[in-house]
């Protein structure tokens, strides 16, 4: 359980990193905290020719606190969010979710952006940031993009990133004071991957009502406005996936029901 040989690059600026990624194409992989890519390398599930370590790029460690959003650099760790070392978007939503990710050792190294790029369908940030309507901000040599999460995430372990394109930050809208949110994760024990997650955001001042069900094996199921209900989720799960049997639907429906309850809906 040792990796196959690969080259290791440690660029110190974003353009350099993007150039290495562009040159490497599908054979180049970004590593930030390495908490997913590391095991995949060891298990030889990933065989990159070059691994691009972005944690020595100073610009990626920063945060920006604007009037209506928080921007987290791509190297910001779960632990930094958990500990409140970076701004939250309101009501301790980010720090609460961060504290429930895997184990502290993973949180010390794993990054928010890395989790989005890995795009595990059961991941906490993939779910939570879909509910919070976040965007990723990318760098490309020909110009970066701002991509909403539900567009960025194309399915299990698949994103909209192009070769040579690098996520540099995640932009998360701030909640209004009246916002209510709920989060319910079903997993066998703390720290394990979830079997189902329900996430709910109700923010009347911003006219936002979103519910997300994830760990479905596919992309998170996003329900907006009047469709944001446990019943609608159940109908969508029943029709959306033949991977799901009655027990899977039950577990996901309960996760969302309890997320609604946590949001006092």
């Amino acid at each position: 359980m040792k990796p196959a040989p690969f080259d290791y690059a440690r660029p110190t600026d974003i353009a350099e990193a993007a150039a290495i990624l562009a040159e490497g194409g599908a054979d180049a992989r970004v590593m930030a905290g390495g908490q997913s890519l590391g095991p995949m390398l060891n298990l030889r599930l990933a065989h990159p020719r070059v691994v691009v370590d972005i944690t020595h790029i100073p610009d990626l460690g920063g945060v920006d606190d604007t009037a209506d959003a928080v921007l987290l650099g791509a190297a910001v760790t779960h632990a930094a969010v958990e500990d409140g070392r970076v701004p939250d978007v309101g009501d301790r939503v980010l720090s609460t979710i961060a504290a429930g990710i895997a184990y502290r050792a993973v949180r010390n190294r794993g990054t928010v952006a890395g989790s989005l790029c890995h795009a595990d369908p059961a991941a906490d940030w993939v779910t939570a940031l879909t509910a919070l309507d976040a965007c990723v901000i990318t760098y490309r040599a020909r110009g970066g993009r701002m991509i909403p999460i539900d567009i960025f995430n194309r399915g299990p372990f698949t994103t909209a990133l192009e070769p040579g394109e690098l996520v540099v930050a995640v932009r998360i809208p701030k909640l209004s004071r009246a916002a209510r949110w709920g989060w319910y994760k079903v997993c066998r024990k703390p720290g394990e991957f979830s079997d189902a997650i329900g996430a709910v955001l109700i923010d009347p001042e911003r006219n936002v009502r979103r519910a997300v069900v994830s760990a479905t094996g596919g992309r998170p199921l996003l329900l907006r406005d009047d469709d944001a209900s446990a019943d609608a989720a159940d109908r969508a799960l029943a029709s959306a996936s033949n991977r799901f049997d009655a027990i899977d639907r039950q577990v996901h429906r309960v996760a969302l029901r309890r997320a609604f309850a946590a949001a006092r809906v």
Partner: protein, 785 residues
């Protein structure tokens, strides 16, 4: 045994463990810490399929000399572990497969390189030419007609069928209560923190293989290696260094050990193989997989009349050395009746061969499954007659006045008060209080349940028992060496291996009890075949009884020799002196053991001319008064909350009342009980290695194979009873496994107690959310939407 004061370090004292100083400071030396000059690493090419013909192995161009296949292992024989029970069909486990592949993960070739990554690079280039065959991965399917055959020449897939027969017809006609259940326990992967590993070196000077192995029975590894390699025992030395947990996993001979030993000699440089977690989960031996079709007959009061069981054990593809494919089923047949008294018992067992790794005994061996089966039946009887399960247990337990008691399968229960143990557990868990809470309003998705398990644990059983079970390895006597050093310290040399049991401490406590030498000055040497007496090793909760007994015998004899020399120095006769507190005391003075040591070794001119030349080094042995074993016993009680919307189970309270006879070190016993209970919780709720129909293992990482962690193990509340065994040196009983036996039964009974008002029942372990929700769906209880 008389208790001494708080500063005491003899028997009964909770002495901090001597070995913990190096463990807690990270200064132990485990297998992966051993680095020898010129050492290279091994990586194995393993079968990607469960069942196939192997037509050829193609070595990568340029790496031919770094890859070894079965054809290269000249003179190496297969691993054979034959049961002596009549009807057993032998298997030959090849060291590297040839001709046929019988499970995913079976080693086919081994690659040698300066480091593991490079060895894996070579392994990735080795090509196997295989013709896949239909696989059989379910034990009941394996027994069925037309199943693919794991070993064609057998004609079926049954290692061994056994029958305990009885005429139950009259009871069947007249019994007021008949309850039948189909129960199943999952295949588990034993998961010590440290996996297996081996470092092998050929010593040219001694013409001897030096094999370091993460093993719990080094002498048995040596015997097994000698057989496979065709070498004299004298040409092999096996050293088990510090070991990070065993539980049975380190109690079999591995083909990887044989390969490493062969290659060290063949290549002329040391080699090592360190098992990684994927190999542990998907390629090495598993445990625990039982299937029960079981019927209990009782009278209207709930008194058991008879038990009728058909039990299948999934033994995997090969009979593993030295416990064989059939220990598990043989044990099932002999211990299924548990601590209960009834009159008629019928049990048929099958040890089925499947395209899965071999099975081996895990802490508690068959008892975890057996206890789950028997205790489920007790609750089923209670449910059938509307009685509290506790009362049905009390009605059927062997009473204290019947001790010692020979049960229906001839087990000789040595001592104890089983009903009192259960009553204390019921009081500690507050059964009446739980029943009241069940009637209270709860959150809508939550149900509370309480469950009990009581069992006895045969341990340190000897020659006649294992001979009767037919396994290749039969323990006999146990020896120990007690050697006084010239400065009055003591070395104990024992053939067992301590890998977490604290035996470096408890054996020193035994010696201290007899000689009074300070335990800081007592060194326990173990795990090295070159310097310790032959022993079957550490397994079967045998060490405190057997090695403890041997240390006591050796120390007593050493004490007699010290007394003779001390008497001379005190100018008196040996019958006038006693050895106590590190001193030989005579009528008019005393002499320290230190002085006696110095005199014997360094100032022999002070000794009398007629002193025995035997010296101050004694090898002596122990065999119990009777070898039927000690029977420790315990009652476990659990309170659980079941989330019926998600199928989740949370343990709210857990109680163990345990009787291990005289406890040598109560703190260590508590640790054994808690650790075992954690593993039992794994069996009950989490651990499962599923295989698909093609025989592929479906849990290849610890993200898929779920082990209980700190958040899943409650504070286990332990109470001890201490009924001495009449048959052991100090009244001690083996107690190493009990913690792991009770939880599946107690937790399953608690879950079923919670589900009973809904009409649902679980009979398959582990109790996963999916199984629990399926059981609710089966009875038409749709959980609230």
């Amino acid at each position: 045994m008389q208790r001494t004061d708080a500063r005491a370090t003899g028997i009964g004292a909770s002495v901090p463990r001597k070995e913990d100083d190096r463990y807690l400071r990270g200064k132990g030396e485990f297998i992966a810490d051993i680095r020898l000059p010129g050492m290279q690493e091994l990586a194995f090419v393993r079968s990607p399929v469960a069942h196939a013909r192997l037509r050829g192995v193609r070595k990568p161009a340029g790496a031919e000399n770094a890859v070894f296949t079965a054809a290269d292992l000249v003179g190496v024989g297969p691993i054979v572990a034959n049961s002596r029970l009549p009807g057993f069909k032998p298997s030959e486990q090849p060291v590297l497969a040839s001709g046929k592949l019988r499970y995913v993960g079976e080693p086919v070739a081994v690659c040698v390189a300066p480091d593991r990554a490079s060895a894996e690079d070579i392994a990735a280039e080795v090509e196997l030419d295989i013709e896949e065959l239909p696989a059989v991965s379910d034990m009941l399917a394996a027994r069925g007609a037309g199943a693919p055959l794991v070993h064609e020449h057998w004609g079926d897939n049954v290692f061994l069928e056994t029958v305990v027969d009885a005429d139950l017809e009259a009871i069947k006609r007249t019994a007021a209560v008949t309850v039948t259940r189909h129960l199943r326990t999952a295949r588990q992967c034993m998961s010590p923190i440290e996996g297996r590993g081996v470092v092998a070196q050929w010593d040219r000077r001694l013409e001897q293989l030096l094999v370091y192995s993460a093993a719990q029975m080094p002498h048995i590894v040596r015997t097994g290696l000698a057989g496979c390699l065709g070498l004299d025992h004298g040409r092999i030395r096996v050293v088990a260094p510090d070991i990070g947990g065993g539980f049975g996993y380190k109690g079999i001979l591995l083909v990887e050990e044989v390969c490493a030993a062969f290659l060290a000699r063949h290549l002329g440089h040391p080699v090592r193989w360190i098992e990684d977690r994927r190999e542990q989960l998907t390629a090495n031996a598993n445990c625990r997989e039982h299937d029960y079709e079981i019927t209990a007959y009782a009278d209207a009061m709930g008194r058991l009349l008879a038990l009728d069981a058909e039990v299948t054990v999934d033994a995997g593809a090969y009979s593993a050395y030295p416990f064989s494919a059939c220990l598990e089923a043989a044990q099932v047949a002999s211990i299924l009746p548990g601590p209960y008294r009834f009159d008629a018992y019928r049990c048929r067992t099958w040890s089925a061969a499947t395209n899965k790794p071999p099975i081996l005994p895990y802490r508690g061996v068959a008892r975890a499954g057996v206890c789950f089966a028997m205790e489920t039946m007790i609750d089923a009887v209670a449910s059938a007659i509307g009685k509290e399960p506790l009362d049905v247990r009390l009605l059927n337990l062997v009473p204290p006045e019947a001790m010692p008691f020979n049960n229906i399968t001839g087990k000789h229960f040595d001592s104890g008060d089983y009903p009192e143990c259960l009553r204390r557990a019921a009081a500690a868990i507050d059964l009446a209080g739980v029943r009241r809470r069940q009637a209270d309003a709860r959150p809508e998705d939550e149900r509370i349940g309480v469950g009990f398990a009581i069992f006895c644990e045969q341990a340190a059983h000897g020659t006649s028992v294992y001979s009767g079970w037919g396994i290749p390895m039969v323990p006999g006597f146990e020896q120990a060496v007690a050697r006084l050093t010239p400065d009055g310290g003591l070395e104990l040399r024992v053939g067992i291996q301590s890998h977490g049991q604290g035996l470096e401490t408890t054996l020193a406590q035994v010696a201290h009890e007899l000689l009074g030498i300070a335990i800081e000055r007592i060194m326990v040497v173990h795990g090295d075949t070159a310097v310790t007496p032959y022993s079957t090793g550490t397994w079967g909760s045998r060490c405190m009884v057997m090695a403890g007994g041997a240390v006591a015998t050796a120390c007593r004899e050493l004490g007699q020799r010290l007394a003779r020399i001390g008497a001379h120095l005190l100018q008196t006769t040996p019958d006038q002196v006693v050895v106590r507190d590190g001193v030989v005391i005579g009528p008019r003075g005393s002499v320290s053991i230190d002085d006696i040591g110095r005199t014997w070794y360094l100032r022999p001119q002070d000794l009398p001319d007629d002193v025995s030349p035997g010296g101050l080094e004694v090898t002596s042995g122990y065999k119990a008064v009777r070898d039927s074993g000690t029977f420790s016993y315990a009652a476990h009680a659990a309170v659980v909350a079941v989330d019926v919307a998600l199928g989740a189970v949370r343990i709210l309270d857990y109680v163990v009342v345990e009787d291990g006879g005289v406890l040598v070190n109560p703190m260590i016993v508590d640790g054994q009980v808690v650790g075992g209970t954690a593993q039992g919780i794994g069996t009950a709720l989490y651990e499962e290695m599923p295989y698909d129909g093609a025989g592929q293992p479906l849990a290849s990482t610890l993200a898929d194979y779920i082990l209980p962690g700190a958040t899943e193990v409650p504070d286990v509340r332990i109470t001890h009873m201490e009924t001495p065994s009449p048959y052991t040196t100090f009244g001690q009983k083996g107690i190493g496994e009990g913690g792991a036996i009770g939880p599946p039964a107690a937790i399953a009974n608690a879950v079923n107690d919670a589900l009973r008002p809904l009409g649902a029942e679980i009979g398959d372990l582990p109790i996963t959310p999916r199984r629990l929700l399926a059981a609710l769906a089966k009875v038409g209880v749709m959980p609230p939407p």
